[in-house]
């Protein structure tokens, strides 16, 4: 190793050290835990090594429920929130008056606390002996039948969770997309206009490709974020998510570690590794698909 290389490594050392201690080591440790059967964190002992943890987790109905919930959440909220954010940002960038005001309004949810917002959602949707909740009042006004969104049927609860998630992630996406739209050079639009391009075609053939790197970034982070959802469910349905059928994968991991039935770090590790694998796979698929459709300038 010559002097120059040594210097480079020296500069990299702090980062490598921190990443190694706080990221790589824990990851490897979790992987090891996930194969140690019956690990006990108090006595730091285990019965043996094997794949029983995985087998247990994969046969646990709570985990299967959590996987189902998480996937539903991902499949609905990522496209809906990204699409909605795109529409709103396009709208925002085409209005002149009060743009700043609207931008602020759309950004407000981002600076509000998740749990506080969850409380508001509960008030909006929850059916109690004293009140049907605001949303139910609206439904009844239009002649529908009241539904208990918080403690009622599965689809209603899922709907609220998705609605809430979309609402929470929207501001950040709008912020990013508005700036991406603003950075598209005006002259491309002018050229397209002179060439007789319809507004819809300008949007699909010019705007979308021009902001595709940003869109792709939002989709990837959206997928990862949705797979790691937990606090949203807690905000709406409380900490006993298994009972509410509303658990997510991260929620399951938390329960295995600390919840009422907690104290099973091995199962938690196995579940965490399964989640890691899922996220990694989806991200890789995303990257492969994007190669064809994302245009980097």
């Amino acid at each position: 190793m010559d002097k120059k290389d040594a210097k480079a490594w020296l500069y990299l050392l702090p980062a490598i050290l921190f990443l190694g201690v706080f990221m790589v080591y824990p990851l490897i440790d979790v992987l090891i835990y996930s194969f140690e059967e019956g690990y006990n964190s108090a006595s730091q002992t285990s019965f043996g090594v094997g794949s029983y943890n995985y087998s247990y987790v994969l046969h646990d109905p709570y985990f299967l429920q959590a996987i189902k919930n998480t996937f539903i959440l991902v499949i609905f909220t990522v496209p809906i929130s990204t699409g909605l954010a795109l529409l709103i940002s396009v709208g925002l960038s085409s209005i002149q008056k009060l743009r700043d005001l609207f931008q602020t309004i759309y950004f407000l949810p981002y600076v509000t606390n998740t749990l506080a917002v969850g409380l508001v959602f509960m008030i909006l949707f929850k059916q109690t002996p004293y009140s049907d909740g605001l949303v139910n009042l609206v439904i009844q006004f239009f002649g529908g039948e009241a539904v208990d969104f918080i403690g009622g049927p599965y689809w209603a609860k899922m709907f609220v969770l998705c609605f809430y998630t979309v609402w929470v992630v929207l501001p950040f996406k709008i912020l990013i997309l508005t700036s991406a739209l603003a950075s598209v050079n005006e002259q491309y639009y002018n050229a397209a206009k002179v060439d007789g391009t319809s507004r819809f075609r300008i949007f699909t053939r010019i705007t979308i490709p021009m902001i595709s790197p940003t869109l792709f970034y939002l989709i990837i982070t959206g997928f990862i974020g949705a797979f790691k959802a937990y606090s949203d469910a807690v905000a709406l349905f409380g900490t006993d998510l298994n009972a509410a059928q509303m658990n997510t994968i991260v929620g399951y991991i938390y329960d295995m570690l600390y919840g009422n039935s907690g104290g099973y770090p091995s199962y938690a590790s196995a579940a965490a590794i399964i989640l890691f694998t899922i996220v990694l796979t989806i991200t890789c698929i995303n990257l492969l698909v994007s190669k064809k459709h994302v245009h980097y300038a």
Binding site: Q187, N190, A191, A192, V194, R205, I206, P209, A297
Partner: protein, 364 residues
């Protein structure tokens, strides 16, 4: 197709709250642009040339006035329905599309009866690509092309739907000197072959003079003069036009007319019949000087630049507004150049006089 502008005016409201002065970018344009010609819209930076072009293509709406393409009024027609082709200053090629996709983009916009099949579009694209000589580059992305090639793609894209009018905004400004010469010939050739009325904007008088059938000289939003390049050069209407056209630029002297004779200082340089006594600016083209041992105009010699075919005598005179007087003289007369002083007589046709106050041309 001929283009007629009637009292076309574009005013930008002032953004500065303190000064309420609006900017008049285009001021009362009334002009008829003949069919099938190459027209150079010429003026210094910020004189409203690009605004005029934007009004023509419909990207901006005029404050007042009318625009006609042929017999049809298009003043209120949006850009997409005007059927013009435009080459933007930075070309505005879509970076994510290949050259072919860029060129067929305008064709894909066609609707109804004009709609074309994919094959017809590609055929058409190839046809214009051949015209501008980029048919080898169809699969490349704009970022993989040189400046000159991008320029050609931009022209091809503007031409592909056979526009009634082709507009070009500073088409040569992003090219290097050699490519500029070549490309301007190319533009001339393409215009001749397609016979599309073409209007191009430039601040470079040489560019406009060399290829235009007609030039429009403008300044501060006002048209100063229109005509064939040579006519405008030989017969400028005012001092601005005289100064703006020609390289090296016209030499401007302070002078006066006394008893039908033109004076620079004490030297009577020319007879001017029928001009009243007054203070004037005298503009003398570089080719208007003749070396003469007994000539009335005495200048202090600076240096002599030998160009081969002719020589440039650089000299100074106290009453000359230019830093130096540049006169172009046939190299056969080189021997006559003195050492310290140089004396000239003037060719009357190459001397223009302008009123000192209005700067309008005084004919004699």
């Amino acid at each position: 197709m001929k283009v007629v502008l009637e009292n076309l005016t574009k005013i930008f409201p002032s953004r500065n709250k303190k000064s309420k002065e609006d900017v008049i970018a285009v001021n009362d344009f009334t002009i008829e642009i003949p069919d099938g010609k190459l027209i150079g819209l010429l003026g210094p930076s910020g004189c409203g040339k690009s605004t005029a072009l934007n009004l023509l293509c419909g990207l901006q709406k005029p404050t007042r006035g009318k625009i006609f393409f042929g017999e049809d009024e298009v003043t209120n027609l949006p850009a997409e329905n005007r059927g013009v082709g435009m080459v933007f200053q930075n070309y505005a090629l879509y970076p994510h599309l290949t050259v072919l996709q860029n060129i067929i983009f305008p064709l894909q916009n066609l609707k109804g009866e004009e709609k074309m099949t994919k094959e017809a579009m590609c055929e058409k694209a190839l046809e214009v690509a051949k015209l501008v000589q980029i048919d080898e580059l169809m699969e490349r992305k704009p970022s993989e092309l040189s400046g000159g090639q991008q320029q050609r793609v931009a022209i091809a894209r503007a031409l592909v739907k056979m526009p009634k009018i082709l507009l070009m905004d500073e088409p040569l400004s992003n090219l290097d000197a050699r490519l500029r010469l070549q490309t301007r010939e190319e533009i001339r050739r393409i215009q001749r072959e397609t016979k599309i009325t073409t209007i191009f904007v430039t601040h470079d008088q040489e560019e406009a003079m060399s290829i235009s059938d007609m030039i429009i000289v403008m300044k501060d939003g006002v048209i100063h003069q229109t005509g064939k390049p040579q006519e405008v050069y030989d017969d400028p209407k005012n001092l601005f036009v005289a100064k703006f056209l020609g390289t090296p630029p016209i030499n401007v002297f302070q002078g006066c007319v006394k008893a039908e004779r033109l004076y620079i200082g004490d030297a009577a340089v020319l007879d001017v019949k029928g001009v009243e006594d007054r203070q004037v600016y005298i503009g003398i083209r570089p080719e208007g000087f003749v070396l003469d041992e007994n000539g009335p105009l005495v200048c202090k010699l600076d240096e002599v630049e030998v160009m081969g075919r002719d020589i440039t005598v650089v000299s100074k005179h106290d009453l000359c507004e230019n830093v130096e007087i540049r006169s172009i003289i046939s190299s056969e007369n080189m021997a006559e150049v003195g050492t310290e002083m140089v004396r000239f007589t003037l060719k009357p046709k190459k001397v223009h006089i302008f009123d000192k106050v209005t700067e309008e041309r005084i004919r004699f």
